[in-house]
Assembly symmetry: C2
Homo-oligomer: 324 residues x 2
């Protein structure tokens, strides 16, 4: 069985790749678990640190059709399409966001369609497709009113993947991820970058800026939970999806001040005091447009899962850092 992952140099793609290599199997065209014989890891930068004979790497920009052609080949059974320009950057660089987040996804769908191989594709969307006046808990039937270009591009891809799937060009599954926390590594240009930074940096002995109000409610998921749900989304039978291939994943609804309180409980007062509260209007405008809580009935019925509490997310992050 041949798999491709885009955005594989990113931490989530990378973590997914490791998990798949470890699992060794994934549901194949036979409808049964099949041994993974090849994983193509694609990104604009080289994917490092994974040494496995099953791994092939593609370094290139997915806005280039040649790159897409080398990622999606006639023997590609499944694709995890995670590559994206993050929210803050897509807002600042409109054309870049359109090209990578929308056009490249469409090119990939067209490549798949032209091959007539109908692979499975798991695509990651985001809570950023929502905005405007929202109920306290966002239901599965909620209209998408993105208040950012990133959210707009993701919502357009959701529609396209559902239509291509309905037409039988591929077997797509779009999972709307909560904000991932705690991401390891460096801050990025996502408006939600702080949701990891305010935990990660203090734990590393560094100061971190929290650019939003403590009352801001975030919809969160740990990296491991995200990987588990991406794989679960792949394994589901196509017939279970019904009228749309898009699913809002379950998450944890936590206020920023309660994230910090959890950090204090897990790592101590001194660590939590490394956070500086300096509001940033550009980040606030985007983050405050996102819903902080969902009623993800459909995802729960389909067997997707959420983290237990934020304390255990922090503890898992600390454990991962110590063992990696």
């Amino acid at each position: 069985m041949h798999i491709a992952i885009t955005g594989a140099a990113g931490f989530l793609g990378n973590k997914l790749a490791r998990q798949l290599l470890k699992n060794g199997k994934l549901l194949g065209r036979s409808g049964k678990p099949e041994a993974i014989s090849r994983i193509t890891l694609a990104d604009v930068t080289a994917v490092t640190g994974i040494s496995d004979p099953r791994v092939h790497t593609v370094v290139g920009n997915i806005s280039d059709p040649q790159t897409i052609a080398s990622i999606v080949t006639p023997d590609t059974d499944s694709i995890f399409h995670l590559a994206a320009i993050v929210s803050g950057q897509a807002e600042a660089e409109f054309d870049l966001g359109m090209t990578v987040n929308f056009d490249a996804t469409r090119s990939m769908l067209e490549r798949i369609r032209s091959l007539e191989t109908r692979p499975r594709m798991v695509f990651t969307s985001s809570v950023a497709v929502f905005g405007g006046p929202l109920p306290t808990s966002v239901p599965d039937t909620m209209a998408t009113l993105p208040q950012s270009s990133y959210g707009t591009q993701k919502a357009m891809c959701e529609l396209l993947i559902s239509d291509y799937s309905r037409r039988g060009y591929l077997d797509g599954r779009t999972l709307r991820l909560p904000t991932i926390s705690v991401r390891p590594g460096l801050p990025n240009k996502a408006a939600s970058s702080f949701a990891s930074g305010i935990i990660r940096e203090p734990l590393a002995g560094q100061a971190a800026v929290c650019p939003v109000h403590g009352d801001t409610r975030m919809w969160l998921m740990s990296p491991q939970q995200a990987v588990n749900n991406l794989i679960h989304g792949h394994e589901l039978e196509a017939s279970k999806f019904g009228f749309t291939r898009t699913i809002s994943l379950p998450g944890l609804s936590v206020k920023v001040r309660d994230m910090v309180a959890a950090l204090e409980r897990v790592a101590g007062v001194d660590v939590a005091q490394r956070i500086e509260w300096t509001e940033d209007e550009a980040i606030k405008r985007i983050v405050n447009s996102w819903p902080g809580d969902f009623d993800t009935q459909r995802a729960t019925e389909l067997g997707f899962t959420s983290d237990e509490d934020y304390d255990s997310i922090i503890r898992a992050y600390i454990h991962d850092q110590q063992t990696s």
Copy 2:
């Protein structure tokens, strides 16, 4: 004041052009009604039958950037973008639908953006953006789950126009039109074509096929009401739109059997008996995925209006035919 209308050879674009020429004025950049000095009527076929010194015509395909450049010029103040491949054809010819319904709209938005003139644009979307399990009456907050490629393309354009407007590249307004009934002229490839055909053809002494069940509930608007609402949508202050530029227009919710009953009341039993009931699965699949009733609170608050009853729609159609 300079106006452009795409799809101007279509009956709705044509009717709109005549109405605007008759009115002579439209809200201009001054924020006040301004005299219409030029209307550019664009379509793939020549627009005929309108003789007025203010009219300029562009014949060309809007998927050609050259055509778009001649429709949207630096002195274009307002655009009514009505050109589209209809639902049945967009389903049968996927690439054509994507090119005309989505790519051409995007090219037009990019043309507008490059001019930096920020014109008003009224775009027509459709009830076809909805589908899947729906409440009896569809609220303004309902998720778009199109079950056709046409609906998908329209929903993608809605998102793009809201984002371009939010970014200040233009002042867009997307109106989701109910099914227009009674359209004059010939049947077309829209899945909803019958909703005019079952009235128009019997009134002309011809047989008409009704491809759906009599219990099918349709969301309808007369041509004159549609023109009034398109103009109203243009005249509204941008600030009234809030978090999205997309609005579901109010309509009349009528069962197909009650449309026929109205025809019988207005034109007699003999006329209504010219309808043959022969169900067509392809048409039923698309039409049955559309909602038959809406709660259009937002549109009503913004002053959009619906027809009084279906009998008066038929009477207005008969009157128009006799006087045109």
